[in-house]
Amino acid sequence: MLILTCPYCGVAGEETEFHAGGEAHLKRFGPGSSDDDFDAYMFARKNPKGVHFERWRHVFGCGKWFHAARDTATLQVFGTYPAQVSGPPQDILDRIAAATSAHAAK
């Protein structure tokens, strides 16, 4: 059971305190979009063995949605950040890069 830290209220909670919401940073395709774009937006999801940017909601806590950068294989959490962004913040990307290069060096 994962432990995640809500970036809003600062609580480090058990996975059961949160609700998983799938892949983060999807771009919405609404009316006027092509069939392919809409299909990909609705149904095509990344399923990497490795770093995944994903949506979580602190459902039994402050109720806020946030994002987590998590390695699906090692379960390392590189950080959590508010959902009101369209891409991961630089400090988290730096942490991922550092971990990846450390891993490659091994």
């Binding site: 059971m1 432990i3 919401g21 009316p31 979009s33 809409f38 949605w65 959902a83």
Partner: protein, 988 residues
């Protein structure tokens, strides 16, 4: 025979005899015995029959790894199958029966399966039962059902009479296992100031050390254990418990452990088992190692046991498994058993050491004691069926030519030791193959990782491959001086003898519990099963309740040999929790009966109960289905309630209706995106029926929106939808349109809400007095705030029945008082409460849809004739793009219509309308289905709504609905609005 020795037995108390029954026979043991040791003391070596061939099976081990001695324990409601005799503490009155036996343990008809053994090999079920197809129902399936499953499940009508609980614990370091390694590791962590929790699965500390001997700094291992425990007990930061088995390690240091609290005290007060739910920063797995059997013909005959178990029974319980015990080994450790048997005054006719050069100091000690040691020798086969009568000896290097036959009644075997790496592996810790010691052990460089990316499990002692006392102590961080004999290297022996032919291999068992032999695994390899995971499932090796604790390594060594590849290339199967079986009761804990899930009650719950309501669960709510009066059936009551509403006035507790406040400068814009219709144009004081879809375009919820003020809307949702829709709004607000300035609050439980419905509704409210509820002051689809009967109320003129209707919301604390006032005011008008079933029929008569009846997650609003509630002007709303997809605009879609049976009967719920022809599966084609169907007391006939292909274009057409009894009912396609189609009544 196996018997109780005159003296000894560190765990038994001879002053406390315990009576028990096994297979109907009254037997005696002592306090401190396990069921297994007590059975052996009574010369009961044969304890069960094997799963597939019904071969006689005896006790093999002394601990949790036991594959054979599974019994039905207890009687009546406390009957429990598959209990391991080796871990069951004996108590006065214990009752056990053997499993897989018919008609009896001694004479088992199923043993005839053995005659068909050549046909019951790997993949048997897949191959044999395919053809002919017709045999499935009457021949194959009954046979499989008869022979499938271990033990018998408790009777379904017997509720478990015991209680269980969950226990939450937190620690810096969790130590699993209370042997020398675990205690030493706990001491190191405790001295470093860590919060330490030590859990031991048995009732005893010290692990194998008290039996296996050696000294630490001149102390016996017992004295060392006692001193270490005393030191830990004095520390405030250490807790330790026995009888708690660490069952599983999960992501980020979550651990489940299972405590047997009162298994030996049936009916005692308090929980029988506890499930420990632990958060540990670091886990030290000091779970020891398990001895491996050797694969020789007849290694499953009762009397063949693990060498370590033989000396455990002697040392702990003063039980000798046999008078003449042959030892067979590929390592030095088994010599300890030879010496223990010898010192107990029993006979060791021979020690067969498969290693050409034999062993080290322990072998010398055995020889010095006068024991006969034969090196390079093996067992060709075991003699005897229900009990060992002797062994045929051969050379390990040969093909099994018998050199000698030695009478004996027990065989102690040792194929080396496998570290218990389960807790290391549960979360992905990797293993390496240690070829020198023939074992998989943890690869410290590849541990399971926590949220920081650091390893959070370490193994220590035998679990880490450190098998001797000196290695164990050093591995656990101690510097003590150990005195124990030096051991010579083990020689891997996967087949005994090495060149055993097909006849011997077909009698050499790998998995005792699932009846898998060496020949089965070799056959699987021959048939192309190269992956160990596939071979496991094909042969069922390691798939029984013991999860292959004895068999896995031997099995994959045989598989590797058959595939001609090294063992590490074959790898292991996946280790999954729980380490050993845990009870379903413990998993459930206290969540049973009334506390299984919370019940949500409206403020009128007690009133409904007193009024004789028949309850209907709606999500976690309980709502009155109807209020039957004396002599009334539920059906009578529902019809009376409907008639009351249509002819006088009915009162409904609608408090469960979801109520969401959406507030902010952008609330209108936001709701325009959420609902299919336009909400921003709604005037203050007005109400509008709205539809919500998901992004796929499918209808998700409906309800009336009331505009409270310029920036505030009250959105009603369905009873089941309140929490879901609240979450839906929050998700879009927070993750997509976070630039909008809007708050959403779920005020469902702040308001009691009552519907006052029927032609006399207005008179009732006027009698209460206060707010002007006349048609001109408060027209249909308007709302107003004021006082009614002295209570501040919000009054909504909305109708879900087609009648003149007011929904009145009052603060929940005033709900009961207001309801009482309504009843009093309504008495002279014939007012009576009505329940959810009347509500459903009333809305169906009017052709109103119900989320969950007319919708099922594949229905768009356009299917339901709700195009009028879909804005054509808005550029966007959730679901708009989804509804533009080709399939959604297909004119062939099934659409909502009313259905009027020609004979006036009620169409069965969910019935399908058939069409011409048949589909690819030979089934009748369909052209529609019933979504709501009721008897309408208003119309005096059955009415239904349904989705029918191009339905609205086919008014007047008659379609046919087959019924389960083979007959069918014909219905005419009509408008779904059966009652007051012009809406005059609700507008009155």
């Amino acid at each position: 025979m196996s018997t109780r020795l005159a003296t000894g037995g560190s765990r038994i108390d001879r002053s406390k005899p315990r009576r028990f029954t096994f297979d109907g026979a009254g037997l005696r043991g002592f306090a401190g015995d396990t069921l297994a040791s007590a059975l052996l003391a009574n010369n009961r070596m044969l304890v069960g029959r094997s799963f597939k061939y019904h071969r006689p099976r005896g006790i093999v081990a002394a601990g949790v790894e036991e594959p054979n001695a599974l019994v039905n324990l207890g009687t009546g409601a406390r009957h429990e199958p598959n209990q391991r005799a080796t871990t069951t503490a004996l108590f006065e009155g214990l009752t056990a029966t053997p499993q897989n036996v018919w008609p009896s343990l001694d004479h088992d008809i199923g043993a005839v399966n053995g005659l068909f053994a050549p046909f019951l090999t790997a993949g048997f079920y897949y191959k044999m039962f395919l053809y002919p197809r017709a045999f499935w129902k009457h021949v194959y399936e009954p046979f499989i059902r008869q022979s499938a499953g271990l033990g018998r499940a408790p009777a379904p009508e017997d509720a478990d009479p015991d209680t269980y609980e969950h226990f939450h614990a937190f620690c810096d370091v969790l130590v699993a296992g209370g042997g020398v390694a675990g205690l030493q590791a706990a001491r190191v962590a405790a001295r470093a100031g860590q919060r330490v929790l030590v859990l031991e699965q048995t009732s005893h500390w010290g692990g194998r050390a008290p039996v296996d001997g050696g000294t630490i700094d001149g102390q016996t291992t017992e004295a060392w254990t006692a001193a270490t425990l005393a030191e830990l007990a004095a520390l405030p930061n250490v807790r330790f418990r026995t009888q708690v088995m660490v069952a599983g390690v999960y992501d980020h240091g979550y651990v489940l452990a299972h405590e047997t609290v009162a298994d030996d005290r049936p009916g005692a007060k308090g929980p029988r088992h506890r499930l420990w739910r632990i958060r540990a920063t670091r886990i030290i797995s000091a779970t020891g190692a398990i001895e491996r059997p050797l694969s020789f013909a007849g290694n499953d005959v009762p009397g063949v046991m693990l060498a370590s178990a033989v000396r455990d029974y002697i040392a702990h319980y003063a039980v000798s498994p046999g008078d003449r015990v042959v030892i067979v080994t590929n390592n030095d450790d088994a010599y300890r058993t030879a010496l223990a048997v010898h010192r107990a005054g029993l006979t060791v006719p021979v020690i067969l050491d498969a290693r050409p050069a034999g062993g080290g100091a322990l072998m010398a000690e055995a020889r010095a004691a006068g024991l006969r040691v034969e090196t390079g020798r093996a067992i060709a086969k075991v003699l005897g069926t229900k009990r060992v009568t002797g062994v045929a000896v051969c050379a390990q290097a040969g093909e099994g030519a018998v050199l000698d036959t030695i009478p004996c009644d027990a065989v102690a075997m040792s194929g080396g030791w496998s570290p218990v790496v389960h807790l290391w592996s549960h979360c992905g810790g990797k293993l390496i193959w240690d070829a020198d010691r023939a074992m998989f052990r943890p690869d410290a460089a590849r541990p399971p990782t926590d949220h920081t990316g650091a390893g959070f499990v370490t193994c220590t002692g035998a679990a880490n491959g450190a098998l001797t006392l000196a290695e164990v102590l050093a591995d656990a961080g101690a510097t003590g001086q150990v005195d124990a004999p030096l051991e010579a290297a083990l020689a891997p022996v996967w087949m005994m003898p090495q060149g055993a032919g097909p006849k011997l291999r077909a009698k050499a068992w790998l998995d005792f519990q699932n009846d898998v032999k060496v020949s089965d695994v070799q056959q699987a390899a021959q048939e192309g099963y190269q992956s160990v995971e596939h071979a496991k499932r094909y042969t069922t090796l390691g798939m029984a309740t013991d999860q292959g604790k004895l068999s896995n390594i031997n099995g994959l060594a045989i598989l590797s040999d058959a595939l001609g590849q090294p063992i590490p290339q074959t790898g292991t199967t996946t280790f999954r929790p729980p380490y050993a079986p845990i009870s379903m009761g413990a998993i459930g804990g206290a969540a049973r009966g009334d506390v299984f899930q919370p019940i949500r009650r409206t403020c009128l719950y007690d009133w409904h109960e007193a009024a004789g309501a028949h309850w209907e669960p709606v999500g976690q709510w309980r709502r009155p289905y109807c209020y039957p009066r004396a002599g009334e059936t539920h059906q009578d009551a529902v019809r009376r309630e409907i008639t009351t509403v249509r002819s006088a006035v009915g009162l409904l507790d609608a408090s469960t209706l979801g109520k969401l406040i959406v507030k902010g400068p952008d609330a209108g814009r936001f709701l325009d995106l959420i609902y299919t219709n336009m909400m921003s144009t709604l005037a203050v004081g007005r109400c509008r029926y709205g539809l919500m879809c998901n992004e796929n375009g499918f209808l998700s919820d409906d309800g009336v929106v009331a505009r409270m003020s310029d920036d505030t809307f009250l959105c009603h949702t369905t009873t089941g939808g309140a929490d879901r829709i609240h979450a839906h709004l929050e998700e879009w607000l927070q993750t997509e349109w976070w630039d909008l300035q809007v708050y959403v609050a779920n005020v469902t439980e702040h308001w009691a809400q009552f519907a006052v419905v029927g032609p006399k509704a207005r008179q009732v409210l006027e009698k209460l007095g206060g707010l002007d509820v006349s048609k001109s002051a408060l027209p249909f689809m308007n709302w107003a705030e004021g006082t009614l009967g002295g209570v501040t109320a919000r009054v909504f003129r909305i109708s879900f029945s087609g009648e003149l209707s007011y929904e009145i919301a009052v603060p929940v604390s005033l709900g009961r008082a207001f309801w009482d006032a309504l009843l009093a005011a309504g008495a002279e008008y014939g007012a009576a409460p009505y329940g959810t079933e009347a509500l459903h029929v009333l809305r169906a008569e009017k052709g109103f849809i119900m989320i969950g009846d007319e919708t099922d997650g594949t229905v768009i609003p356009q299917d339901l004739g709700l195009d009028w509630a879909i804005s054509k002007k808005k550029p966007d709303y959730i679901g708009k793009r989804g509804q533009e997809r080709l399939r959604m605009v297909d004119p062939d879609r099934w659409k909502l219509v009313g259905l009027e049976t020609l004979d006036g009967s009620v169409i069965p719920d969910g019935a399908y309308a058939v069409a011409d022809g048949r589909n690819a599966n030979g089934q009748r084609n369909t052209q529609g289905r019933v979504t709501s169907t009721y008897f309408s007391p208003t119309l005096g006939r059955g009415i239904a709504m349904g989705l029918v292909r191009r339905g609205p274009d086919r008014m007047g057409e008659v379609i046919e609905f087959p019924k389960l009894d083979g007959s069918s009912v014909k219905a005419r396609i009509v408008s779904p609005v059966f009652y007051d189609p012009n809406g005059e009544k609700q507008d009155a």
